[in-house]
Symmetry: C2
Subunit: 392 residues, 2 copies
């Protein structure tokens, strides 16, 4: 049973697909695409029509410019991941899968398999989805002759994309119940979600993780409003605000500092964030600053959920702070900010800067994990209740 089959079977068991949908076409059965730019549907990443390249949205240019880039080599993809043309754990995984396919087009040898795995894995250290996708891609080609590896890698890269879309739709459905519950308790009030970073379509192949429940709630007519934390240093809040504007969902941007104040004043019903890696004990490694939001949520009795596809869960880690590599990035990301067409320095070139990309929110501060299989407690027992095959 492949991971993909297993996920889709679980989704069907939960009654989330239209009758008659096959596992392979599951995503297409429901929403062909959620990503909607100026009214046009597309995915954030897809093989080019001739199958010899991969098309991505260059997220460095958003929210000011919408630019599609075509990447033609594995090293181009590695650079796009490293320099955050693409970002978000699920999308990093999907991009690496396509990058691996391009490597097989270039050279399908065993050495090339190992090199592609190594080069792409080295791009960013924290997202579990990256290693997951690369291990999966390597597995998909190692048993077969080199001359058939490119085709097999293409199929698997596309399947990983399809699966991501199906997973995220399921996360959205499960998360919807949480939002519905908020609404049921106080139907006359809008539902105020707070999110950090971008865990929407742009962080995935489509549909998003943390934003998926909101998208479905909005479609279902629930009155939704999203507080968007700007998320310094890379200001992924601008991506979230742009996405929500494309969807027509009311939202308000705040600086990262303001999240606690809003929670203290009763202006937030629910926090939902994505994750880059979740330990088997339910600790959530996500964009730097998530821990602070979680502390404020706890202090004010506001639930905080992490929306997590299964490839984000690192079953090799059993909790604590030490197992997850926390990326440290270029200090220039803090010193200099980029606008539509120019950049400005906030800090002089010599000013010492430390730039940590992620933090770990201990499971005790997380109300639950929303996965494609349902919502569980942020604990080993909780995760095993959804993934019993990982037990004992």
């Amino acid at each position: 049973v492949s991971a993909s089959t297993s996920v889709s079977r679980s989704l069907r068991a939960a009654g989330q697909f239209r009758p008659g949908c096959s596992v392979a076409s599951a995503a297409k059965c429901w929403y062909p695409s959620r990503v909607k730019v100026d009214g046009t549907h597309r995915r954030t990443i897809a093989a080019s029509p001739d199958g010899r390249a991969v098309d991505i949205i260059d997220q460095r240019r958003l929210p000011h410019h919408f630019v599609i880039e075509r990447l033609t080599t594995m090293l181009d993809v590695a650079r796009a991941i490293r320099e955050m043309w693409v970002r978000g754990a699920p999308l990093i995984g999907a991009a690496a899968a396509h990058g691996f396919h391009l490597a097989m087009l270039e050279d399908p040898s065993d050495a090339s398999v190992e090199r592609a795995h190594r080069e792409l894995l080295a791009t960013r250290p924290t997202a579990n989805n990256l290693r997951w996708a690369l291990d999966d891609m390597r597995q998909s080609v190692l048993g077969i002759p080199p001359d058939r590896r490119a085709a097999a890698a293409a199929r698997r890269a596309n399947a990983i994309g399809d699966e991501d879309v199906a997973i995220n739709q399921a996360i959205g459905r499960h998360g919807l119940k949480l939002l519905s519950e908020v609404h049921r308790k106080n139907p006359s009030k809008r539902i105020d979600i707070l999110t950090h970073c971008n865990a929407g379509w742009l962080a995935t192949v489509d549909f998003g993780t943390a934003l998926a429940p909101g998208y479905i709630a909005h479609d279902a007519g629930l009155p939704l409003h999203v507080w968007v934390a700007e998320t310094r240093p890379r200001v992924q809040g601008a991506l979230t605000a742009w996405e929500l504007a494309q969807e027509g969902i009311p939202h308000t941007v705040i600086v990262d500092n303001a999240g606690g104040h809003l929670m203290q004043r009763g202006r937030v019903d629910l926090c939902i964030v994505g994750a880059d890696r979740v330990t088997s004990a339910g600790d959530v490694c996500n964009k730097i600053g998530t821990y602070l939001k979680a502390l404020a949520a706890k202090d004010n009795g506001i639930p905080l959920y992490a929306a997590v596809p299964y490839p984000t869960i690192d079953w090799t880690l059993d909790g604590g702070l030490d197992g997850i590599p926390i990326e440290e990035r270029d200090p220039e990301e803090v010193r200099t900010v980029h606008g539509a067409d120019q950049s400005v320095r906030l800090f002089p070139p010599g000013s010492p800067v430390a730039n940590y990309g992620f933090d770990v929110t201990p499971a005790r501060l997380v109300s639950g994990i929303i996965t494609e299989r349902g919502v569980c407690r942020a604990s080993r027992e909780g995760l095993l209740s959804l993934y019993p095959e990982r037990g004992g």
Copy 2:
């Protein structure tokens, strides 16, 4: 007994001035000036040599350009406060005092007294020091004939400046004990302070509040390192980094999101922040984001102190979140960031933004208040132990 005399007496009682120093010259006896720009000492605000204007540092231009502005009318001063050419609760108070003096030069009538009080008070809502200084200035002129009011106001404005310097030096001395204690416990390790916003010289007339203990510790040869939170949206962390660079104190800039991560990893010994208003119950209203830092400090067993001159304490408020007006500023401050000579947009003009200037950290999260009279618990009992005249 005027407030000024009372403070200075308290300082002398604590043995903090050289023998033979008078109350009036107390500040000069110790450090004539701490503010040091490219090696030259000055204050952040002072009457012009002819006494008919006030010279300020235009903080909007820092850290890129050091520019002195001469303000010649009360309305100029009001604008400089509103638009944050000057900022920081103590400096806002001192600036308002000088602005009041300029109003008396223009027109010393009773109507002008009330107008100056009203116009200057309306500039910013949160800092308690603003009302304190304006009430003090009004009091200093109301009993005397109009033709002598300008001279009286000048004397009082200058005295408020001198007193601020003396207060901050005393805060530094009291806070030094806390840093010495950290050092004593682990002499081989640097002392890691984390601060938020700017509560250094630039936020005061001289010497700073939250940074004063560090300055004295550094002079005393203690190995100090300061984590500087950038403090979006106005990036006052750049002011703090610039000040620390002028002082030659090791420091590292981080985004606001990173404070929790550092505390979680044992990289912070002590947090020290300033305040814009402190309730009589010890709740600390300070720059937005302070509450999040305080939650992280509490969660990791790291002490967090607020360094507070007495004019910041609002004895009319007995605690809770509701009494302190939280300033909401122009959304453009979040959407657009300013560098040395140009600005860039992070968010499109239509993107909805909320821009809260401050938050309130409940007393339960504050380890203590450092005032000019000593360090006390953040509670009514604690504050009354230092200010017994406010009891009963």
